[in-house]
Amino acid sequence: MCSVSTPTDPHSTIPDRLASAGGLKKGVARGLSRDTGLHEADIYGVGSFYHLLARPEKRVRVCGGLSCQLAGSREILSACQAAGLPTEEISCLAACDRPPAVLRDRRTLPMVTIQDAERSGGKVEDLCSNGSESVWCGTIGPQDAAAETLCLNLSAEPDWSGSAFKAAGTMGSSALFDLIEESGLQGRGGAGFPAHIKWRAVADQAEQERYIVLNADEGEPGTFKDREILLRRPDLVLEGLAIAAAATGSSEVYLYLRGEFEVPGGVLAEAIQATTKAGRFPGITFHMHAGQGAYICGEETAMLEALEGKRGMPRLKPPFPVEVGLWGKPTLIHNVETIACIPGIVLQGGTWFKDLGRTEAGSKLYCISGHVQNPGTYELPLGVSLDELVAAAGGYVGTLKAFSPGGASSGFLPASERGRALDFKGLGAIGSMLGSAGVVVLNDTINMRWAAEEQLRFFEEESCGQCAPCRIGTHYLHAAVKRGEEKSLGLTHVADVAWQMNEGSICGLGQAAALPLTSALKYFPEDFA
């Protein structure tokens, strides 16, 4: 009813309550309405937005991301259905390095085989990855890197000493902001925005109630680095958040993890419990919040809506979250990787961090999957080329045809760009982007019209539907590029539609969603002949 919600508003509990009720089954919204006093239609609207809630009868979801498809996920989908499992396809599960991945309830199973599906005998509980799914991590590298060249150093043991938090406290906010500025740290969620500007902006607000939000809604197809950080170095994440909170004058930290991150979420929850028990970061409270299945909630303002328990539809910007964020208060939002860089910067210095990079500041986690020998997460100087990255990952499989440098949103680049530095500025200059550095490699067995169609299918499914350019544009482009079933719209108007989507969409999803198709048309016209 009330237009301004607060942390105590029952609305923020709606996604969790729906999840506890087993999803949006008939009658559930009415029951929750009686429990909370909220309108039943509002609750229904929220539930219907999130795919983990909207179709509760589906308990097995096979990843439809490009890397999983290259590993035969469609066959797994058929096998699961044939085995009598209640199965549907789902957008990228952030397990591109262990394809094909399957989500069983909230648990991501890696490298599922047709035999696994058959062995389940149609019982959801019995579906597993050859008996070894319980806890798994991906490959990390490079193997031979010296610790002092790595800011995150995923192979190291967690450090719970809290020394960075203490050091930051001693330093004081102003010096810390200078240090972060000196480090050149850019947001690693996709936009590459200088971190220090956001920190200062939040600290400078007149409003004293402020929040810190961790964006761990890792959903960009091809990206899984945050999963590795959460599994291996939760210390860096919590300490980075604690430093941010103390420096910007906030005490409440909200961690938004995608709903499919049951295992990383468990690791993080355990770490929070231990940290709180040990009193490592006095005065700071961590609140875990599980997403319920919506790629768009990785967009920072959609995430705020989701945290407030609403449909995850992005807000208009301005105002930006640093001014009007969670529950209308100034909010600092960072991606997992960005925040995990903070302890290293505090302990080893801004210049040290900056010099870890090649063309831009810092070391960077690159995810690589698709047609490469050893898919995984590699911490390398920011600005390496594709060839260098693939070399670290054991080399190509087959002959390179195309690659996505930063997830679906970055479109496709031709093999001729294999030597280009993979950084924010350089890729932006050629109409692509580094984004979340989820690099997907495609070899010459792939038809690019098919690849573009798959990416458009993803965007159509994951568009929030709020604004017309994106809602209709993704539908239009997907239908236009699709062959077979429907009468083709043709590709005549793709350029105009893409222009409109880029110009008219509210958020980055719609602004970028045409790129897979327009870039494929540009670089691989022969595949559309």
Binding site: L316, G473, Q500
Partner: protein
Amino acid sequence: MSAMKQTLVLDGRKIELQQGDTILDAASRTNTSIPTLCHDPRLKPVGACRTCLIEVEGSRRLLPACATPATEGMVIHTKNERVDRHRRTLLGLYLTDHNPDRHYGLGGAPNQLVAMAHEVGAPTDWGQLPSKRKASSEDDNPYILFDPEQCIACARCTRYCDEVESVSAITLAGRGSETTISTNDGLSLLDTTCEMCGGCIDTCPTGAMTERKAAEMQAPPERDLKQVRSTCNFCGVGCQLDLHVDEAANDGRGRIIKVTSPPVGTTTNDGNLCVKGRFAYDFVDHNERLTTPLVRDKAGVLQPATWEEALAATSLGLAGVSERHGKNSLAFVSSSRCTVEENYLVQKLARQGYGTNNVHQCAAT
């Protein structure tokens, strides 16, 4: 307080700002037309339909005029090549997801989207997408019809239901191209908190929400109906109504096809109506209407009579009582349902005609 007047420049003209102005507010005061679809002055702006995007110098992206605060020194362009291309391509895109065969519903209001697309010269040759929006199949409510193929998901209806009527019976449901309008569990509106005020119909810019009765009557479109402004006959708020009448129907007696509210800001009801005002007009044509005078016969049965007979009987009856028992043995009850003029005549009849002050209207509230 002598604060300097704040100004901005809109299409080369300097405009003075008022407290709380959006760009759209400022523009509309100068009669600069900026197209809008999801905007309704009764609702909080959401900037979702994107039709009102304009260029503000210094901003990389086009900005929604409805939701962007107007600030000192802004330089705004509401018409230039970029903005015009935006409008054309946006509306062209809308048309691909809009059923072209239903641009004018039965008895329905003109479709603002189609008119706007025509006005800006939007392309019409981009093809048609199969609509992925669905409507509930269970909705047996008698008044409100939702056609998902006309819907543009601008959420005016759901926001109205929440922000104005505060019942939130309907919501945006689903996601992406399947985004639609729904009740909880797709229930019939009758089974929800809906109070059938019909505000969703009033605010809908495309006729996706429309009057079911008009549609079922196979009525002509709104533009072919006579529109009569009147005052609601139910409660004491005095809402203004526009009665849309098919003059030829009912053998020339005329038939009310639907009732709408005058535009926002022009009457006390400010664009709003309730279930009775908007939908309860079937009684006008009800077959139980009294259509002939009746006079009770010797056997005590009411029998049809001519007006002459009935009027004579009335006059005789009242005069007889007055003569037998005195002027104040008569009582006149008038009605708060009738007009001022009719009440005036009843009291005048009692006082002037029959010499009694025993006259009272039926409700003392």
